[in-house]
């Protein structure tokens, strides 16, 4: 049996919803309502988030999952092109694999 973890394991739909909630907190509810956020949405081109907003978003993930996932470590390894093309699906998959 696995060690007891503080957060129940989430499936990809639940992770997606959680990420959407974090994005909402960073950019504001009313903007999210106007956007069609999908797994394919890229942070730079589709969500028009700049580097500072991406960092605030990553801080929320870190605060939620804590030690369980080294999200900032993973993000800090991304090169420029990976960051420009980073989409929600990549993050959802990463979190799902890490749990």
């Amino acid at each position: 049996m696995d060690a007891v973890v503080s957060t129940a394991k989430l499936n990809s739909n639940e992770i997606f919803d959680l990420m959407k909630q974090f994005i909402t907190e960073v950019i504001g509810e009313e903007f999210v309502e106007e956007m069609d956020i999908t797994m394919e949405s890229s942070f730079t081109k589709d969500l028009e988030m700049d580097s500072i907003e991406i960092v605030s978003f990553s801080e929320k993930i870190k605060a939620h999952f804590g030690e369980q996932i080294d999200f900032t470590g993973w993000l800090s390894n991304m090169d420029l092109d990976q960051l420009i093309n980073l989409n929600l699906g990549t993050i959802v998959n990463y979190i799902e694999e890490c749990q």
Binding site: F31, T44, K45, I52, S76, L80, L83
Partner: protein, 402 residues
């Protein structure tokens, strides 16, 4: 007396501080020249300053290239992290590569004792190293040298682009030489720059506020008539294209038309057939003279406007568009001197609420005044000139001793 040369990119915000520092050096009896691609710079140089124009025995191609770089940055709107890639790949690297040979030739001719190169004109640093002339660096956009702990690869990517160009031009080093080991002047205060330890060759000299020569007309009487109402300046600089400006100012109009405040807009008045009664719209304003009469500023986060605003102790709303502006906006928020909005997403009511907030909540103004005081303490133009003179003197002694 020493011979100084500034090497500047064709970007107003990077050139203006060097004009002020250069003027002080000239006043103290030194010889000062500017190396630039931009012919029109000669009209703005302080009295006695020389323009050393980068030009080539023109194959037409090279001449066209020179002209192309003068306004390349205005041609394309890029956003967020994408804008960093654009800035390096399509502007800075080709601009520096193109300028290098011209810089080397002009250095041979002028024989400076000390070079002061802009942090984004790394061709100047490369030429200095190859010619064995001491150089200092002026960091005119301090936010651009910040490294984000969370996204370190952005900075690493920038450094790799610079190092590759260095190697192409004969400097075999693995680190960027853009910021001089002798002296790198960071044109802000440590308090505004924020937490990030810099080595001792970096000196915070404070912003160098440039007073433009000559008078820009302004309807002071009109401003006088509106005494008693809060006054807000709205400016998003000259860099961005027509469509963006139109979208932006449409929201500004919606936010403030008919409100009990006076809005001074820096824009081509013909952008709209009609502006609201409480707006004063001019293509150029005497910003430095105007700021003491204002209560708040809305801007895009260009380093110079932000510094001038803080120097006057005014709170601001920053709406960053690209490049390092997001960082500048982040700092304004962090020190408590203002609020930020997202350029693409904000709506008129957000702008209205944000401006009301910074006008009504005194803490923003207090924080702005504190940063303004830190600027004054850092010294500015005279301090920068002192450091350069001292460095040139030290180098002369060293040369004599050897």
């Amino acid at each position: 007396m020493a011979r100084f040369v500034f090497i500047v990119p064709p970007l107003t915000g990077h050139i203006n501080p060097t004009l002020s520092i250069g003027a002080v050096l000239l006043n103290r009896g030194h010889e000062v020249a500017w190396i630039s691609l931009d012919k029109s710079l000669v009209l703005r140089l302080p009295k006695g300053g020389q323009l050393l124009l980068i030009e080539y025995d023109e194959s037409d191609q090279q001449k066209q290239d020179s002209e192309k770089y003068l306004d390349i940055i205005t041609k394309k709107i890029v956003y967020g992290i994408d804008s960093i890639k654009f800035l390096y790949e399509e502007v800075l690297i080709p601009l520096n590569r193109h300028s290098y040979e011209g810089i080397v030739n002009l250095l041979d001719r002028f024989k400076p004792d000390l070079i002061i190169t802009d942090h984004q004109m790394f061709a100047g640093a490369i030429a200095a190293v190859n010619k064995n002339i001491p150089y200092a660096t002026s960091v005119t956009a301090p936010a651009a040298i910040k490294v984000m702990d969370e996204l370190p690869k952005i900075h690493e990517w920038e450094v790799n682009r610079i190092v590759a160009l260095q190697k192409e031009l004969g400097v075999e080093r693995e680190n960027s030489i853009a910021c001089s080991d002798l002296l790198t002047m960071v044109l802000t205060s440590e308090a505004f720059f924020g937490e990030m330890k810099l080595p001792s060759n970096y000196q915070f000299v404070g912003p160098v506020i440039h007073k433009r020569e000559g008078q820009t007309a302004f309807d002071w009487e009109e401003l006088e008539r509106r005494a008693g109402q809060p006054k807000v300046l709205v400016s998003i600089g000259t860099t961005f294209d027509h469509e963006h400006k139109k979208n932006f100012f449409a929201k500004v109009i919606e936010a403030f038309a008919g409100e009990p405040l006076t809005v001074v807009i820096v824009s081509d008045p013909s952008l709209f057939a009609e502006w609201p009664q409480n707006f004063i719209v001019q293509r150029n304003v005497p910003q430095l003279e105007l700021l003491p009469y204002l209560d708040a500023v809305v801007c895009h986060g260009g380093h110079n406007t932000v510094c001038e605003t803080l120097t006057n102790g005014l709170p601001m709303v920053v709406v960053p568009i690209a490049y390092d502006q997001s960082h500048v906006a982040g700092r304004v928020v962090r020190v408590g001197a203002g609020l930020r909005l997202n350029f693409n997403r904000f709506k008129s009511k957000h702008l209205k609420e944000a401006v009301e907030e910074i006008l009504n909540n005194g803490s923003f103004r207090e924080a702005a005044q504190q940063i303004g005081a830190s600027f004054e303490e850092a010294g500015g133009t005279e301090t920068a000139a002192d450091l350069l003179v001292r460095l040139s003197a030290v180098r002369c002694v060293e040369v004599l001793n050897n």
